[in-house]
């Protein structure tokens, strides 16, 4: 696989978006201005092309059978190897350069030496993730051109997007845990920068800080996990270039001989590593208790919500757990915790979403809920299902967010569901696209979401019926709230909200600086500008410019067809492809033979041939029925008989449930009262300590010369001429004494 063009030139995949970032960032303000999207379009587009070439190259190699090429060193590329005869893998490592090395390799043991290489590890999982990230990323940059047209910080947006794609590709291509962490932090940074894009809005600034800080809490656990990995395994590289030998962290974790030779304290570390790492995944992928940043992150422009908070960044946690499967599958308690938290989050978020009225907030909670599904998939030892849902979710969630962006533009910046209705007459193409997206999210039969969600539910039911049933409840709620939104906004009588004063492209509140907005509205340089100026008659204005509609259509096609990637009993399915990855192969090994009690592990869940696998048909039928039921309930309550919905709400309100859900279970308030306020008080204590004690000590050193000066002033330097003479005399006497007495 080393002779694949894309493996040789893999360093272009992160580099081109980074160059785009530099060009847009440096030249966008003065020279590129409205054309600042070109460096990013070209950079991300080229990355996407390369990623797909990589994918197709790997698919072709897969077709040809296991690769058993003799070891040939082609300069910087390390050759592929197979693990066991029964499970050949399709992977290779590319070392670019040595990033950091600390310590002396000659010293005893490998623990005294840390070497971090900058390099990439390629396998089917990487290829799939890269295609999702760069492909959907590219279409979102196309959309963003239309959406952000006329914004004052246009170049800044695209520059940050380029930086984000760079970080995300580094994350998925990383060859070791430190590079993964680099990408991890990089996407966190870009999320902060992009959420806070409208930095003159205080709510956006707060949301950006919240996202970054909550992420950081998770990253703290993640960092500790990485350090523990180094302590125990002596390296941070995933496979050290060769998955078949016990060099890298992940292979050593699968190696029972290695584990048996560890000291007791190291074995304890091995037990705790998954818990530390999963904290990072919870922070990045917005699971309970670290999910509170994602709904606030909707303050950012809609393309940001689509790309970062739906399709790519938030999936990094799932990716990390699947990649480090051998570290996790040792530990049945950790897997149970992942599944439990995922399930709990799925239901919690779905419940909250049922009472949200802001378009983007509904989809934000929906994302949290669907990520919960993915975590359950991974937690019940069905990583293929988890990744499959990741891919399909990326398509339809990005589609849903981008569609809400179109709606928002058309409705003059309004996002409240209660203020609009019958929008399908204004936005016909968007209506079809969002319908496809909603069907996929709800898991309507034969859409992509149907197959992926029911894969997860099926695996969950098989392993833990309790979790499976809870997921079915969450699926029902998902179908319900999705179509609640759809029927409320797109069907029914036409109601268009009054355009707000200073309605801008992508934010709800009035711009505080009308001067900035005015030129944007006045200058309508291109026909595809997404303006909402048809105040008098929105139906006649083109609210669906080409640059925004084409990505929608592409994503809609993906949302419909992506399900067939892993259609049951298919010959070349996603599952089979992923099974060529050493992460899956070794993960399955560990799950079967590892030293935790894993219960029954289905080989099919890892992509392998499994004659005993239960038929998926009953699960699919059940899932399909539940999704249709949810859609029908939503149809009745929000289209046919809207007053019934209000009556139901009133009757439930007496029980106090509605208030609880409306308040989002008051999680934010609890955090504020018990955690943030106390941390603030602690911060005040530290501030006082720093100001009075530390600074006091430093300042007191400054008083010493002053005291010395005072001493001189009031003793020897009094301005009294004869006094000076006396002093001189004494000095002379002292010198004489010294001379004559020594």
């Amino acid at each position: 696989m080393n002779d694949l063009f894309t493996v040789q030139y893999a360093w272009l995949i992160p580099l081109l978006p980074l160059i785009g970032f530099c060009l847009s960032g440096l030249f966008g303000a003065r020279w590129l201005k409205g054309q600042s999207h070109w460096p990013i379009w070209l950079g991300v587009g080229a990355s996407a092309v390369l990623s797909f070439m990589l994918l197709f190259g790997m698919l072709k190699l897969w077709d040809q059978g296991p690769t058993l090429a003799p070891a040939v060193d082609v300069g910087r590329i390390i050759t592929p190897v197979t693990t066991e005869e029964a499970h050949p893998t399709l992977s290779t490592t590319a070392h670019w350069y040595e990033w950091a090395s600390i310590g002396d390799p000659a010293k005893q043991g490998t623990k005294a030496y840390l070497k971090v290489e900058a390099g990439a590890f390629f396998d089917p999982l990487t290829a799939v993730m890269l295609c999702v990230v760069t492909g959907i990323g590219f279409f979102i940059t196309v959309y963003a051109k239309g959406y952000m047209a006329g914004e004052s910080g246009y170049f800044r947006f695209f520059a940050y997007l380029g930086l984000f794609i760079f970080s995300m590709t580094i994350l998925v291509m990383a060859e070791n845990l430190i590079m993964l962490y680099l990408g991890w932090e990089g996407v966190g940074l870009c999320s902060y920068l992009l959420i806070g894009y409208y930095y003159d809005k205080p709510s956006a600034r707060e949301a950006a800080k919240k996202a970054f800080i909550v992420n950081r809490v998770g990253d703290f656990g993640f960092g500790i996990g990485i350090m523990l990995c180094f302590l125990v395994y002596g390296t941070v590289s995933y496979y050290g270039g060769d998955p078949s030998k016990s060099i890298g962290v992940l292979t050593k974790a699968a190696d029972m001989d290695f584990y048996n030779k560890l000291l007791p304290w190291q074995q304890t570390c091995v037990y705790w590593i998954p818990f530390c790492l999963m904290l990072g995944a919870f922070g990045k992928s917005a699971q309970f208790p670290l999910y509170v940043w994602l709904p606030d992150a909707m303050e950012g422009p809609t393309p940001v919500s689509a790309l970062i908070h739906a399709a790519t960044m938030v999936t990094a946690g799932v990716y990390m757990i699947v990649r480090c499967s051998t570290l996790f599958y040792q530990n049945s308690a950790a897997m149970m915790m992942i599944a439990a938290i995922g399930c709990f989050t799925a239901i919690l978020a779905a419940t909250i979403a049922m009472r949200q009225f802001d378009l983007k907030k509904v989809f934000a909670y929906s994302t949290i809920s669907q990520l919960g599904f993915m975590f359950v998939g991974v937690g019940v030892l069905a990583p293929v299902a988890g990744i499959f849902h990741l891919v399909t979710h990326a398509f339809f969630k990005a589609l849903l967010f981008l569609s809400s962006g179109v709606v928002m533009h058309a409705m003059g910046g309004e996002l409240d569901m209660r203020k609009m209705s019958g929008v399908r007459r204004v936005l016909p193409i968007t209506h079809i696209c969002i319908l496809i997206g909603c069907l996929a999210l709800a898991g309507f039969p034969l859409t992509s979401g149907f197959f992926s969600k029911d894969d997860i539910v099926g695996a969950a039911l098989h392993r833990s019926p309790f979790i499976g049933i809870l997921l079915l409840i969450a699926a029902f709620m998902t179908a319900y709230y999705t179509f609640r939104l759809f029927f409320r906004v797109f069907w029914g009588p036409l109601v268009v909200p009054e355009p707000q004063a200073g309605h801008g492209h992508g934010h709800l509140d009035a711009h505080t600086t009308p001067g900035v907005d005015a030129p944007a509205h006045g200058v309508d340089t291109h026909a595809t500008a997404a303006d909402a100026h048809g105040h008098d008659d929105p139906a006649h204005h083109n609210h669906e410019p080409l640059s925004m509609i084409i990505p929608l259509i592409v994503l809609a096609i993906g949302a419909l067809l992506a399900g067939y990637l892993n259609f049951p009993e298919r010959a070349h399915s996603l599952a089979g492809f992923l099974a060529q990855s050493p992460s899956f192969v070794q993960g399955y090994d560990v799950a079967l033979h590892g030293h935790g009690d894993m219960g029954s592990v289905g080989a099919g869940n890892f992509g392998f041939e499994d004659a005993d696998a239960p038929s998926p048909i009953p699960g699919l039928l059940l899932g399909g029925a539940i999704s249709i039921a949810g859609i029908l309930v939503a149809l009745y309550l929000h289209l046919v008989n809207r007053t019934m919905a209000e009556q139901l709400t009133h009757s439930l309100q007496k029980l106090g449930i509605v208030e609880l859900v409306d308040g989002k279970f008051f999680v934010d308030e609890i955090y504020q009262k018990y955690i943030i306020n106390n941390l603030r008080r602690l911060g005040d204590v530290f501030f006082a300590f720093d100001r009075w004690i530390v600074d006091g000590i430093i300042n007191s050193f400054g008083w010493i010369p002053q005291l010395f000066g005072y001493g001189l002033r009031f003793t020897v330097q009094r301005g009294y001429l004869q006094g000076y003479a006396t002093t001189m005399l004494f000095g002379v006497l002292v010198v004489l004494a010294l001379i004559f007495l020594s």
């Binding site: 002033r713 301005g719 004869q722």
Partner: protein, 102 residues
Amino acid sequence: MNPLALQHYLAVGAIMFCIGLIGFMTRRNLIVMFLCTELMFQGVAINLIAFGRFHDNLAGQAFVIFVLVIAAAEASLALGLVVLLFRQRNTLDADAWRDMKG
């Protein structure tokens, strides 16, 4: 009475020097203070001549010529400064300059 020895001359020199020193430290009149410094000079000069005489070395006398010349030059300088100081405060009292402390 002993015949005149070196110690006697040195004693005179020392006494003159000490009188001058004490006078400088205790008097307040600027000109009198200057007078006392001149007295210190003369005490030193006597010492130098005494050593020169008793060691049969004319260098002592030569050095005294230097000292006298320098004393004279310094006298002119010092008196010029005293006149300037007097013009500032209209008094010859050294205490008038006590605010130049610190």
